[in-house]
Each structure stands twice: as C-alpha cells, then as structure tokens.
Symmetry: C2
Subunit: 410 residues, 2 copies
Amino acid sequence: MRQSNLFTKIAKDFPKEEVSINAQLLLRAGFVDKLMSGIYSYLPLGFLVLKKIEEIIRQEMAAIGGQEVFLPALHPKANWQLTGRWDCEEMLKVKNREGKDFGLGWTHEEIITPLVRQFVSSYKDLPIYVYQIQDKFRDELRSKSGLLRGVEFRMKDLYSFHRDEKDLDGYYEKVKSAYFNIFRRCGLAEKTYLTFASGGTFAEYSHEFQTETLAGEDTIYFCPKCRLGVNKEIIEKEKFACPQCGNKELEIKKTIEVGNIFKLKNKYSKPFHLTFKDEKGEEKEVSMGCYGIGLGRLMGTIVEIHHDDKGLIWPREVAPLNIHLISLPGGEKQAERIYQDLLAWGMTVLYDDRLDKSAGEKFAEADLIGLPLRLVVSQRTLEKDCLEVKKRTEQKVELIKIKDIKKCLN
Amino acid sequence: MRQSNLFTKIAKDFPKEEVSINAQLLLRAGFVDKLMSGIYSYLPLGFLVLKKIEEIIRQEMAAIGGQEVFLPALHPKANWQLTGRWDCEEMLKVKNREGKDFGLGWTHEEIITPLVRQFVSSYKDLPIYVYQIQDKFRDELRSKSGLLRGVEFRMKDLYSFHRDEKDLDGYYEKVKSAYFNIFRRCGLAEKTYLTFASGGTFAEYSHEFQTETLAGEDTIYFCPKCRLGVNKEIIEKEKFACPQCGNKELEIKKTIEVGNIFKLKNKYSKPFHLTFKDEKGEEKEVSMGCYGIGLGRLMGTIVEIHHDDKGLIWPREVAPLNIHLISLPGGEKQAERIYQDLLAWGMTVLYDDRLDKSAGEKFAEADLIGLPLRLVVSQRTLEKDCLEVKKRTEQKVELIKIKDIKKCLN
C-alpha cells in the first residue's frame, strides 16, 4: 500500500475530547474515526487490524470444531419476550412503518437456540458448536473509553450444544484454551488472567478473561500463585481468598474484560424447547454454553497494552501490515524495487513514497502507526549498499546489506 | 468439511410459505434460515458462498484502487436532516434510553462524505475511492422474494471523490468494467445487461446492471444489437428507442437489479461542504460517484439463474466448496485417504462420510447442494481402482483411475 494513496492522514494533535489512550492513538493515526460516542468507523489501517483479529479468531474457532454462521441484527420481539429479556435496558428497539417491533441484538441466544432446534432431534445430532463474527448494538450511555465500550460493536459469539453437562464441561475447557491462544496471538498473554465471575443461577461460576491495564474499568482480586483472578462481584462469597488455592494475599488490579465464557445449561433450551431423544428414547433438554469476545474492545486493549509516547506498537500477528518502508531523497528508485520485492515475497507493506514529507515527519508517522519493522532507503544508506532496519519495539537501528534483506524479515 | 459434522440438515420438503425459487432451494439445502420476512441467517454453507462473493468483490475493488473501510450502521439524525433524507420511509429509526434519535443506515453518503472531508483540502488529496461491505437496513414491507429484497441486507458500497466531472467520468467507466468482472465471475455474464436508469437531477442517466430472470421484479426494454437495457422509468423519455443506436425493436425482459452506479456530482459534497483548493487556490466542490451491489441479492440471483429441478448448481468461483466427495459401502477407507489428499492439494471438500444414508439419499443431497464436482468411492468403483466423477452441470458419469484423480480437478 502506497502511503501517497492512503486517503487517511495523520492528525497533528491528539483529539482533545478523547480521554482514553486507545481512542487518542487510533484516531490520531487514522485507524478509526469517531461518528458518535461509542460508535466508530474503521478506516483502512484499522480495518486491516480488525481483519487480522478476525482471522486469528476464525482459526482458533475452527480448531475446536466451530462452524461459522451469520445471524441477523434485527430480532423479533416474540423471541425476547419468551426469555423475559425484551425489557432489558441495553436493548435498542426499532418499530417499522406498520408498527411492528424489532430489537437490535446485543447477544444471540434468542436466535441461535430456535435455529439449532430445527436440526436436533436425537443424541446423534449433538454436540454442535456454532459461532459468528457479527455487529451488535447496546443502549450504552457511558461510552467514554474509545473502543473499549461500544454502542455498536463487533463480537465473536460461540454457542455450544451438548447432551449433558459432562460434555459441556469438556468443551468449556477446550474453549478456555482456544481463548488463551487468541489472547496470546494478540499479544496479551502476559497480562490476561482467567477470572472467576458470577454465573447467575445456572453455574456456580462463569469465567472472564481480564487483561491488566490502568485503562480498565473492572477490578479483580488476583492470586499471584495461581495467576487467577476473582472479580469484585464474587470476592466476598469467596471470603477474599483464591478459590483455587485458598491464598488470602491477593493483589487488586485494574482490568478490561476481553472475553467471557458461561455455562448456560438449560437456561435457553428450556424456553425454546430445545430437546433431544437419548439412546433410550427419553426426551432431554440440551445443555448450552456461550462464549464471547468483543473485537473492537480487543483491538482497544491491544493498544492500551502496546504503545509508547511515540505511538502504537502492533504485535506481529495483528499488525495491519508487516513492514513500513520509507524512501528518503536519493533512495526513491531502489525503494521502489525493494517494495516490489517485498510484495513478491508475500509481505504486506506500507510504502512511504511521499515526496513532500521530511525524514523527521516520516519517522514520526511510522512510530505513530506502529508497524513491527521499519526499513529506510536513502542516498546515505545506498552509499554502503545498505538499508536501515529498525524494529518498532527496539531503539537499535541497524544497517544491513540490501542483498541480505530477507534475513531481517523473520 | 465432514458432512457428519455439519449441523444443518437437508429439509425433506420445500418450505411451503416461500414462493421464490432462491429461498426455496437455499432453505431446503440448509444454506440460509428465515428469521422473519426479509431477514435471513446465513448457515455454514450459505456463509461460505457469501465469503466467496465478498472475496471476488474485494479483488475487483482493489484492482480499481478501492480502499476498504467499515462504517457504522447506527447514524446520527443530524447528518440525515442535513440532506433532507431523515424522513425517507425506508429509514428504520431507533431511540435510545435518553431519547436520542438514530437512523439505521440503508446507504452511507451521509457518513462517508463528512468523514472524507477531514482528509481533503487540496486537489492533491484527490481522487479517493473508498468502499465497504456492510449490513444495511430498510423498512421494506414487500419482502417476498427470498434473498432478492431484504429488510437487513449486506451491501458493497463504493464512493468515489474527484476534482471534476471529467475525472469522475473516467472512474465511472472503470467501475463499469469492474462490475462486469464481478458478475462474470459470479456466473451471471450472459444474462446481465447494462441498463440506462433515471439519474435524478444530477446526471442525465445512471446505470443499473440488470440480470434477466423470470423471478425479476423489474422490467427492462432490451436492445439486442447493443445488448443494452433501458429501464421502465425512462423508456418514454427515450421514445421507446435504444439510447445508443436508436433501434426501436426492443425486447421486454423481466430482470433483477444486481448493481447500480450513479454520478452524484455535488449532491452530497454541497450540504457537507466537501471542497478542495485547486492549483490556483480556488475552492471547488468535490464531484462524487456511488456504486452499489447487494450481496444477498446477488446470491439469490445466482440461484435463480443456476439451478435445475434437482437443486442448486453453483458456478465454480462462488461454490461454497469445490468438491462433494461421497463414500459408499466398501469405499470408506479409500474415501478417507482421498479426502486427506484433496485437502492437502488445497481443495475444499464436503465429505459425505455418513454411514446411515443410502446412496440414493446421498446423491439427491449432493444434487440439491450443488457443488461443481461430485466424486464417489464405493466397492464397485474400487474393483476397477477407480472413482466415479460427475460434474453438477453435466449428466455424464465417468470412471477414472484413482491415480489420475488430479486430472479431473481442473
């Protein structure tokens, strides 16, 4: 991608009304645009990050047998009345010209459960694992955290359907591992903790994945021995001790909830009569689990964790492009050749071919945009048959021979 | 993909309340599910088709310089009031808890124009080509045509921004070619015609891409010499003659509008003050174009054109998977091996490994699902070291040697 073609531009100043670091940096670097509080547009660089996150999630969902679907955002009122959630205050509602009511989905149990019911009659039809990556809506009044809390937000929601709780329990553990893979690949491994959360009346505890950052709106009690958290709602129940080892020396941490997993059991299979016949012909209720990750929130969290005073620092797997190639005076021709080579080798490149920007401006923008590897070609480097290589995570600048360029790409 | 794992199942009967062929076939084959009139869920096979169509569109948009973004569905009332479109009857509206009004976007001029304005000041910032693939909403009362007319529907919308009409005209022709590429790759080349349509007050004519089918809700007057259409709205203006060659012997055809392209000129740049300074420092309004394709409608149209009395017949590039591999008694082991080989060669395969279905059932389902190539492995074929090969578009069934399997994959 030639930077001279990229229609977005770097903003000179931090947007003043934004208090959150993720929104400040993403807006300034042209990754997103704010349409309203809690509602953002993804611009080309931001959209590429979103696609990278989606790809990681798809791979990890496929690895645990997830089948991808896409469910509507507009939901019939009747489905939500059946579960008693039509009047939840987070539901945005729509009335059409004929006075018919629709809800804008903020979750999809009310849709997926009757859908799956069409295909389940026997124990042989189970288990089923279905997920989607889809935009949800929530009547959210305090949206001051950039991408961390949205009115319109992209979610991955996975639903699992089992013949009994034992089968649900086994799959639940698989999802836990898949979630840790996702957060690891997004660069959040070190700061993301499995956290015990309240599971309502249907499972003693559900689990959240909480990432430590001062930008977090949540608080957890953290057991350093088990690397486990307990959320605020249930720490009293646990008498301020780690539910796993009993340790009472817990640390208080500010966190963001980047994922959550619940055992729903028969909470939705009951009202929707989602049942199956077992080997003996007895009719039983399906046991369900649900598992969510907010993609915008995940992107915002990555930014909160990976930035410095110069800008964004994208972890390798979620970087919008692999390389920022900068051409400086005298290096234009060679830079063009290197750009073509890099593309031919399958790299994705933001190529700063602009002639009206100074070296200082180009470097500052590269730091702000935060691609993992910066390559610079100028008259000075070419005099030594070299280009300059710098990783965004390091201060060190190296000169390497142009013929050795492949070595620095790993 | 193992068919024994696929959670959807083939419906025995055609859904009675559906009158359109695309909905009948897609529902019966488990590609989509109908949540409400005009609102469908995409199930695993249908979602794969959608992704194939998206991929074709992305490639063709990239080829004409399109930069991909993703804009919100919830829009602020003020933007739509500014253009006088807030009270359009197709707009679904939402009020939040605090009484704030939002519209659900059915198009995005009101969002993209002020967004692009942030990045345009000089003629050097133009042209700009921005597109998205995003779900739109429309208060549509007569949704009886399956995927052809949706209340919630996925669109590709491209917007172009130019310094003058000449530049817009040039890009408009490029988009025309890109659109024909898209429709060709979707298997609609022979039946899709460029059609003159009314362009409002801003361009004499806009253009639609109309695909001939009896399921169509539109009517065009078709000039067989030019292979051009004129739509009903403007045929009187043209005195029932081809606007290109003057031919008066026009054919009347039933069609579906699969795409449309408009020269908006300053219609939206004026209210949003989207201007630029030219070389002389004079401030001028940006000339805009907009270009739409409905993805669900396109998928429905492909079905209307490509099916027979046995089921769906997917054109190669939009088929959800390349191959339907069927194992019959005695062929299970060899089928498993072939399945692994096909995957290793990069093919996508629906592998009918089910043990509780008869050959007749498996063949009928394969015809209904409509993948391009059917391979059958059974004791009978293995006696000759062969498998059976049949194209969905042909009646002919061939036996080919297993060692020659690669030959039939092109």
